[in-house]
Amino acid sequence: MKKVKADPKGVLTGSHYLDGDHSLAEGGLAAGCRFFAGYPITPSTETAERFSERIPTVGGVFIQMEDELGSIAALIGASWAGKKVMTVTSGPGFSLMMENIGLACMMETPIVIANVQRGGPSTGLPTLTGQQDMMQARWGSHGDYEIIALSPDSPQECFDLTIEAFNLAEMFRVPTFVMTDECIGHMHEKVVIPPAEEIELVERKWYTGPKEKYLPYKPDKDLVPFMIKAGDGYRFHTTGLTRDERGYPVINAECQDVCVRHLVDKINKNADKIIKLKEEEIDNAEIIVISYGITSRVAIKAVQKARKAGIKVGTLRLITVWPFPEKRIKELAKKIKAFVFPEINCGQVVLEVERCSWGQTQVIHVPHCGGWVHNPDDIFNAIKEAAK
């Protein structure tokens, strides 16, 4: 893995007062994103607006496509032409992108998609928050595949985790999602952008061997194949069909097994390298509150109250939601009385916690249908209930 410093041209070093949407754009620019294709959709539009304003003085292209189907197709094309690429969207646009998210997985193409989640289903709540696209990020395209999804809890993390998302996308040749939400997207806070030389970027795993020996989908030791780009004289082929190491379609169960298993293993077997969690006061905890994104901040309010009431509560924040930290949750399930899991949906990522708990411990979900963040008291009551 080759690491390089960020290009200072894209890095707006300094302290800023920014909302999450603008920070996503700055994160992308700092990460070296020089191609952005998007379509306006509330509450994510500000990211596209900022990119369109900033990119002409940085060097790169912004294009507003005719729809989200076009945005993501353009992204995959641009990535294969060698650029770092990103787009931003929200629920309905995310739904439209699903088919080509599968194509990006199949073609093993690094792309970054930020989803500023709003309440759904359908048009739902364009201007109000939700965390209801978490399972869609994981399973939304047809077929079996694995992706990476990160969940920032602040405008600062919208910046930080967008850079991280680019690094992971490039490292694993996989679509990587920044799953933020309307609340963070539209919330202004202090965002510190470090100097370019302090931002470490992962360079794409370019192939450097002899041309005639190049195989686009031959896994390396870390399971990630080397990449090349269009125009370099390899005369390669790639397809959305099930394909062999040459990138040629092979339509049978044997090739499917190798191809799909590879797509899944590439992420799952590298899960330990990918997953980031933030744990606090876990060691003596009887109850662990699991959360991600904006909800993890609200949850701390409840946790503070519970601690005052004498309950031993720890917190676990999923900075990486996908791949899911199975191992860690299984380990913790054996030690504690209950997990409490608030999320702004009717029960999505909590299903993973239930699966990993295997009946070893209680899992109490604190649902919220979207439109606002939790009332901390609802989480507190769940903790109290769990401690009984």
Binding site: Y17, H186, M187, I294, V373
Partner: protein
């Protein structure tokens, strides 16, 4: 922790007020501040608002719940938001645009003809900065230096001086009112 709501009607620069104060606090006064605003159809009507949560520690819950400071620059905004103000909160209004009800609880009210002052400066678009100066003097939540430092980037460069002038006008008026109140007490 302090929760503040800036309110008025669209076009008065109410969102800008939240941004200026939030930026001043977070970047130049060493505080944590989280600014949110209403979006969408509900934000288009006549009552417009931005909210600020200020704290020495990280802001966890991003929205205001029971604000202790309410700034109202229109009657409709006042009518809509006055009821949520804390019983011992501070109410700041534009004297000419808001007719307040009798004060409840221990709420303290401060009034300024911010729009009229702005007109004296040549344009009523500076009313929000007059109000910001007044708010800074009355509440002492944020320093006037930080507020002024926060302006570049949030007001057009060519109007920076006038905005500072407007701010000072409101700030001085606020100091004057505080002094008068003190004198009346003694």
């Amino acid at each position: 922790m302090t929760e503040i709501r800036f309110s008025g009607f669209g076009g008065q620069g109410i969102i800008r007020c939240g941004l200026i104060a939030g930026k001043a606090l977070a970047l130049f006064d060493n505080k944590h501040s989280t600014m949110t605003q209403s979006f969408g159809p509900e934000a288009r009507g006549s009552a417009c608002s931005s909210q600020l949560v200020v704290s020495d520690d990280r802001v966890l819950y991003p929205y205001i719940t029971i604000p202790e400071i309410l700034i109202s620059m229109s009657q409709e905004a006042y009518d809509k938001y006055e009821t949520e103000l804390r019983n011992d909160g501070i109410l700041i209004i534009d004297k000419d645009l808001v007719k307040p009800k009798p004060l409840r609880g221990k709420i303290k009210m401060y009034a300024i003809p911010s729009t009229r002052f702005a007109e004296e400066l040549g344009n009523r678009i500076f009313a929000n900065l007059v109000m910001m100066g007044f708010f800074t003097a009355i509440t002492k939540i944020v320093s006037p230096e930080a507020m002024k430092k926060a302006l570049p980037g949030l007001v057009p460069d060519r109007f920076l001086d006038l905005n500072i002038k407007a701010f000072d006008m409101g700030y001085d008026y606020g100091e004057k009112i505080l002094k008068e109140k003190k004198q009346r007490k003694t």
